[in-house]
């Protein structure tokens, strides 16, 4: 979590219009059932550990429903990317043997589809062409679309956050330490991608994500890091049932609130910056996960979350600051490449294994990206 003192205006200035859970079309994880046969109008996608095959390579502009069936052995995800890896739609946590639907609204253009077996990496990509009528948006409509796109992202992340936190909590309550350790960084990934949204709800963020060092004397300590310490240090989670239950309850509350919150383009710009600040202050130093040393999972999630917010703004930025877009693309790619050097299997090297020189490279990449990202806010505020 970020230190409370450093919490800037960022997303916290969002008007907290609790509008209820208005379904906003795409991104909805739909019917989770045993591999249902494809219905008419749906584009089937055959996913496995090595393949990602949509039934067609061209679709008409407008609404398209993909039905992704995971025939592999690893949990997978499915994405539709616009140029620059802007997420147009995604569905996560497709476990082996299941089919999930994804509804995407796609204007004419060239896209890529991607499956991510193991839920990491750039995924298995294929081109997707969308043809037909496409009305160009006005400036205001582009900004509105940016926030709508990002809300869709928040929705997909929070959906999986709930599922993964529940699995983690179940493992803790069952006393299955090994399983809980494996699930700890995975469940946090979805949290870390959208943390600036969660920070809007002041007292819930610390309840979920406070580190021991953040606490004032006498303050109650709950959340992920409390359980982290028991998993890695005391190696005894027998007393953690109530903490685990509270964690899940807090996550449920924050997910409902996050999805009901209205966001502005400035929120997105500042959120993207805050996520990189989190990397610079907490993850590069290893202060986030001091017992599990899983900081690089959080690093990756912060970087992805920052990119999602920036990419939602991309159409606006391309119009107003094309040079900045070019710089951002290059520097996101450089940061991702710097981090990718530390991938291990489906996860990441523990922070305490990285040398000072390796950490400096990561730090340089984040500093290089952070400066141009701080230039987004004044552009979208124009």
């Amino acid at each position: 979590m970020s230190r409370p003192a450093s919490r800037g205006p960022g997303l916290a200035i969002a008007a907290l219009a609790l509008t209820g859970l208005a379904a906003c079309g795409s991104g909805e994880p739909a019917a989770v059932g045993a591999s249902a046969p494809a219905e008419p109008g749906k584009i089937t996608v055959a996913a496995s550990d090595t393949e990602c095959r949509p039934a067609v390579t061209e679709v008409p502009a407008g609404t398209t429903t993909f039905a992704i069936t995971n025939g592999g052995s690893k949990v997978t995800e499915f994405y539709v990317y616009a140029p620059g890896d802007r997420v147009m739609a995604e569905v996560e946590n497709i476990v082996p043997g299941l089919t999930r639907d994804l509804i995407a609204e796609l204007p004419a253009g060239t896209y890529e589809t991607a499956c991510k077996p193991g839920m990491v990496g750039k995924g298995i990509r294929n081109p997707l062409k969308v043809t037909g009528e496409h009305k160009p948006l006005t400036a205001d409509a582009k900004l509105a679309r940016a926030t709508a796109d990002y809300k869709r992202y928040v929705k997909s992340q929070t959906g999986t956050l709930l599922v993964k936190t529940e699995e983690f909590v179940d493992a803790v309550k069952a006393g299955d330490i090994e399983q809980a350790k494996a699930l700890y960084p995975v469940s946090r990934t979805y949290w870390e991608r959208i943390e600036p949204v969660a920070e809007i709800f002041g007292d819930l963020d610390p309840a979920i994500d406070a580190r021991e060092a953040d606490l004032a004397e006498g303050e109650e300590w709950t959340g992920f890091h409390r359980i982290e310490k028991d998993l890695w240090i005391t190696k005894d989670v027998r007393g953690d049932g109530p903490i685990a239950d509270k964690l899940l309850a807090d996550v449920k509350t924050i997910v409902a609130k996050a999805n009901a919150t209205e966001l502005t383009p400035l929120n997105l710009a500042n959120g993207a910056k805050e996520l990189l600040d989190e990397v610079a202050t907490g993850k590069i130093t290893g202060e986030e996960d001091i017992w599990s040393h899983t900081d690089l999972w959080d690093f990756d999630a912060n970087l992805e979350g920052s990119k999602a917010a920036v990419q939602a703004l991309r159409p606006v930025l391309e119009e107003r600051a094309p040079d900045l877009v070019k710089t951002l693309d290059e520097r996101f790619a450089a940061a991702e490449a710097a981090l990718a050097a530390h991938q291990r299997g489906d996860g990441w090297r523990p922070h305490d294994e990285l040398s000072k020189a390796e950490l400096k490279k990561l730090s340089d990449a984040i500093n290089a990206l952070g400066e141009p990202i701080s230039g987004i806010a004044p552009i979208v505020a124009k």
């Binding site: 400096k360 500093n367 004044p378």
Partner: protein, 429 residues
């Protein structure tokens, strides 16, 4: 708001108190060194003092444009922030663009202005300010920013391999050095000197910020007390061993010596430039302090209070290396520091030293982490710094109290001529 200007030179107001304090400090220090001031007066009978030089005026900006870079023969300011960068981009065009942006910012900062056009508080409220703000309301403080290019820049990344000057030859290994790679070397250096440390730090911080994504700070060093005078109008200061340092330094008034020993010649990109060697020299000051006065003076070859060569009366009296005392031994021992370092022992090798004392807190063993950040400018390190340092490294009894922990070598190009010119333009032409 928004004009990006700090108060012009000589503005009365909040800066005045600061100026008075500085003046007090400066003259106070000179006053303590009473014998030094006396020596200065004695010498001025011999040589006409350059009365026009107002070396310690904190408000007066030092001109940025000129034939040579400022910050070399500029009368040494009180404070230093030295920084070495690694270039992290592999694109030549991005590096050149950075040098342009840096030059523009340096031209502003040295004149007491803010780093960017909108400044610390003149931009849109949603934007991060283009100046960090801690030098607002401070005068220019004689800030100079001096750039240099390290040997590592001349590898195959930017097509500069065939432009590496012969004089930029890697330094040899000197006996007894304990160099730490993380605080040595670097592709590009910037020396920021000012009478106010906040002004020097502000400049380095803003240049580093402009550089993100293209360069990364490799190491940096703060220095708090100049250990050399580079003008005859300045009194000779003391190093942390308590001795006057740089009595025999090259000085800006020594026209002929500067041409012979400081400025690079020839028609290439370095003409009018110079070469900088930096050495961070950690002193074990605690053991030094327990050493008798006689031994301290014998090691340096100078009298501690006045700074006079042993056997002579005043600081600027030339040392007589042949003179013997009543005991038949030379006043200045065969291995005394001033004998080993003297031009007469090193084929007439002169250096323009511009070092600073440093204290980087303490070392966790109850000792100050202190010493000298040595900097010397010269025409060719191969015939100047290297033979002098080799002689010192082999024989200097001072080695018992010091350890070289960092080393840097940089080719400092000639000055920026005008607003259309930039740092390294001739190198990248």
């Amino acid at each position: 708001m928004g004009n990006g200007n700090r108060p012009p030179a000589g503005t009365r107001g909040p800066s005045e108190g600061r100026m008075s304090r500085r003046k007090l400090f400066g003259f106070g220090a000179a006053g303590v060194a009473a014998a030094g001031a006396g020596a200065l007066a004695t010498r001025s009978l011999v040589e006409e003092p350059p009365a026009a030089l107002a070396v310690d005026h904190v408000s007066t900006p030092v001109p940025f444009y000129g034939e040579h870079q400022a910050g070399i023969v500029t009368p040494a300011q009180d404070r230093l922030h030295f920084v070495a960068f690694d270039v992290v981009t592999d694109k030549r065009a991005e590096l050149v663009e950075l040098l342009r942006e840096w030059t523009a910012a340096a031209a502003r900062l040295t004149q007491g202005r803010e780093a960017g056009a909108s400044g610390a508080a003149g931009g849109p409220p949603e934007a991060a300010p283009d100046d960090t703000g801690e030098a607002l309301d401070l005068p220019a403080s004689a800030l100079t920013l001096t750039v240099g290019f390290g040997p590592s820049l001349f590898d195959d990344r930017f097509g500069l391999a065939d432009r590496r000057p012969a004089a930029l030859a890697d330094l040899p290994k000197f006996p007894g050095e304990h160099l730490v790679p993380e605080i040595s070397g670097g592709d590009i250096c910037v020396q920021a000197c000012a009478h106010d440390p906040q002004v020097a730090v502000h400049a380095v911080r803003n240049l580093a910020r402009i550089g993100f994504g293209r360069v990364s700070v490799r190491w940096s060093q703060l220095g708090f007390g100049r250990t050399s005078s580079t003008s005859r109008a300045q009194a000779t200061p003391r190093n942390l061993m308590g001795f006057k340092d740089g009595t025999n330094n090259l000085k800006l008034e020594d026209d002929r010596l500067l041409r012979e020993h400081l400025w690079a010649r020839g028609g290439d990109w370095m003409a009018g430039g110079t070469y900088l060697v930096t050495r961070k020299i950690r002193m074990t000051i605690e053991t030094w302090d327990r050493t008798s006065l006689a031994e301290q003076e014998a090691i340096f070859g100078r009298d501690k209070r006045a700074g006079a060569p042993l056997g002579r009366k005043a600081e600027f009296d030339p040392p007589d290396f042949a003179a013997k005392g009543p005991d038949g031994k030379p006043y200045i021992a065969p291995d005394a520091h001033i004998r080993l370092a003297h031009p007469s022992s090193n084929g007439d090798a002169h250096l323009l030293r511009r070092g600073y004392n440093y204290v980087d807190g303490s070392d966790g063993l109850g000792r100050l982490d202190a010493g000298l950040f040595f900097m010397a400018y010269q025409r060719d390190p191969r015939t100047q710094f290297v033979p002098v340092q080799m002689a010192l490294a082999k024989r200097d009894p001072l080695n018992e109290y010091i350890k070289h922990v960092s080393s840097g070598l940089f080719a400092c190009p000639p000055g920026v001529r005008d607003a259309g010119d930039h740092w390294g333009r001739a190198l990248f032409a």
